[in-house]
Symmetry: C2
Subunit: 374 residues, 2 copies
């Protein structure tokens, strides 16, 4: 059964219905198990719903990060964004979780905007466009409430003097063979993209360089980025640095049938810049796990397991486990009709967006506190 479901997960493409257990085996990562959750809880008191619900489901060396932390060796957080368009709700998942980690462990965060990568990868995008998206996306990061004293957002093109010095030391240990195998590059790949894995690796190390001591690095990110850190982890010891640790999230589901939210299919995703009307329309037009008619729905019940409307509650709009469980049961037993459920979700989404957009506006006044430049 499992092998019949085809899916692809690369840093540039996620397609098909993802089998996350299979990904853990293929990528050679570790599942987040109850032992690890209990250990996290000792430090955080409560467990974030993303952990309880296994939305963050996989890791490398997160246990080692806790060893270090318990040994009074603080880590820093590193995550980022490829600014190829506006931010959608799926992008917020790792960032919300990163904010939780910053709060609970009192850590610094380095946030990379890969304006260079998105320009190099996408024939349609100019560098000005990716730079503009980077600043636009930064507002969404800031709107989530990160601590300006401990959060450093940088665009690759504006912080390259610092990045490049580390990147070339990294790249001296990485051959074309390596990136060909890891990223599927070939003879037609442009030489900017070929070098780019060095740029994405550099922030694992430059806080250590800047502070003159080896600092553990934890990267919260969607699992599609894992290949970058795999190469980074291979090279780290050769440069005298700790291997970066990782904690991986699943992909936020599409509003359409199957797959993840995608900026290239605007109807599949709700963007933070959507108007409330647009957002409502997208929710109302969403695919569901419901039956064809109200009569059938009342008789047979719906399928929350395949329903984007239910997934939205699960991922982001109902963090109350009891309430979510009621939704699930009411859907299953036919008491909750898709129309009602969509109505309720549309309201939650609009409330969220309306609040987020206010914070996003305010972020424009404080963005300079966050941006790191050479």
């Amino acid at each position: 059964m499992e092998d019949e479901r085809e899916f692809i997960v690369t840093p540039w493409e996620v397609r098909g219905e993802v089998d996350y257990d299979k990904l853990i085996r293929e990528f050679g990562t570790m599942p987040i198990n109850d032992d690890l959750l209990n250990r996290i809880k000792k430090h955080t008191n409560d467990l974030h719903p993303f952990l309880r619900r296994k939305i963050f489901f996989s890791h490398r060396d997160f246990d080692w990060i806790l060893d270090k932390y318990e040994n009074n060796e603080k880590f820093f957080l590193y995550t980022g964004r490829g600014p190829s368009g506006h931010t959608h709700l799926g992008h917020l998942i790792p960032w919300i979780f990163t904010k939780y980690l910053q709060d609970k462990f009192d850590t610094e965060l380095y946030f990379q905007m890969t304006d260079d990568e998105k320009f190099l990868h996408n024939p349609e995008l100019s560098l000005n466009e990716t730079i503009n998206y980077a600043y636009d996306n930064a507002l969404d990061v800031i709107a989530l409430g990160f601590d300006p004293k401990k959060t450093f957002i940088f665009l690759d093109t504006e912080y390259m003097k610092t990045i490049y010095k580390i990147a070339i030391q990294f790249s001296k240990h990485v051959t074309f063979s390596t990136v060909k195998a890891a990223f599927g590059f070939n003879s037609s790949t442009n030489i900017g993209m070929i070098f780019f894995p060095s740029i994405q690796a550099a922030p694992c190390f430059f806080p250590s360089v800047l502070k003159g001591k080896n600092i553990p690095c934890l990267i919260p990110a969607a699992i599609d980025q894992s290949v970058y850190w795999r190469v980074a982890r291979d090279v780290a010891p050769k440069l005298g640095f700790y291997k970066p640790a990782e904690i991986h999230s699943k992909f936020f589901p599409s509003l359409m049938k199957g797959g993840k939210m995608s900026a290239s299919e605007p109807e599949s995703a709700i963007f933070t810049t959507d108007s409330l009307e647009q957002a409502e329309r997208k929710v109302k037009n969403a695919f569901t796990g419901g039956q064809a008619t109200i009569k059938e729905q009342k008789e047979k019940g719906g399928n929350p397991e395949i329903c984007p409307v239910y997934f939205y509650d699960y991922f982001l709009f109902d963090f109350d486990d009891k309430s979510l469980s009621e939704t699930y049961n009411n859907c299953k037993n036919g008491c909750l009709l898709c129309g009602e459920h969509k109505e309720r979700l549309a309201k939650s989404v609009k409330d969220f967006l309306s609040d987020h957009q206010k914070k996003r506006e305010k972020a424009k006044n404080i963005i300079d506190k966050f941006i790191l430049r050479d």
Copy 2:
């Protein structure tokens, strides 16, 4: 005959006895002919000995640069140095000629120190070492008397914020196939080196970007660098820039038998940091075109055509054509013995070094006027 002489000319290696006519054919450049020399002379009044003696022997689009100049469209000069060690006399040839062009055409000069490349290429060199050599080598550039108001020396690692933005636009048009064919890169080449041709191409264009208008670029350099500009010329029109023009020098000969001066064979070259005693010893130990004994030399005469001591006069230490011709004839007819000739050259070299080293010391006080940083 020609095909039996094996030689290799790449940006990283020059080996064997170079056939410059063959290089012109292989690289597809143009010889500098009398028509071009006469045209240059109209603007410069006198011809630099490097032109008269065909030490600068090849070009691409130098005639186009003169078209532009005559049409009141000023060009800028771009050259550079790979700082893998101290400067030797051979490195000075293109720089002395560049200074002549700056004086005669009143042009700006952008001088690139590829500290990144030398670090990436050489397994033995650390980045700190190449950075230190870059500053050391810059003193030699400045000692030649460039105009501080019109001369901009930059280390790649310190000017990367500016360079990178242009370099990635360049690299988007260059595939691995292209650099594989042009530079002989393969699967074992590190990804920093693979990207590097973009970094060396960028200064052909960034003065245009910084000034907001397309400015013709002329690159005086030894011919081994030509492959970089060939790639740069292919891409330039795709970015809306002029193709850079080039003027190429021959290699300064080794003091030992055959080949060019090489930093990797210290006895083959005189470094600007050599003591006068070291320099004298190297000249005295040089290979010559002389006979085995004084008696034979007086009877048969020497061979200036293969003699490094004569080449030194030809390239750098006797710019008086009449005097050089006398030296040639006196060697040929056995009147000039190798010992005498070496004695005379040693004095010239020591005079030159002594003067250069004073200017080099003074350069330490004004280096900040020349260095461009982000």
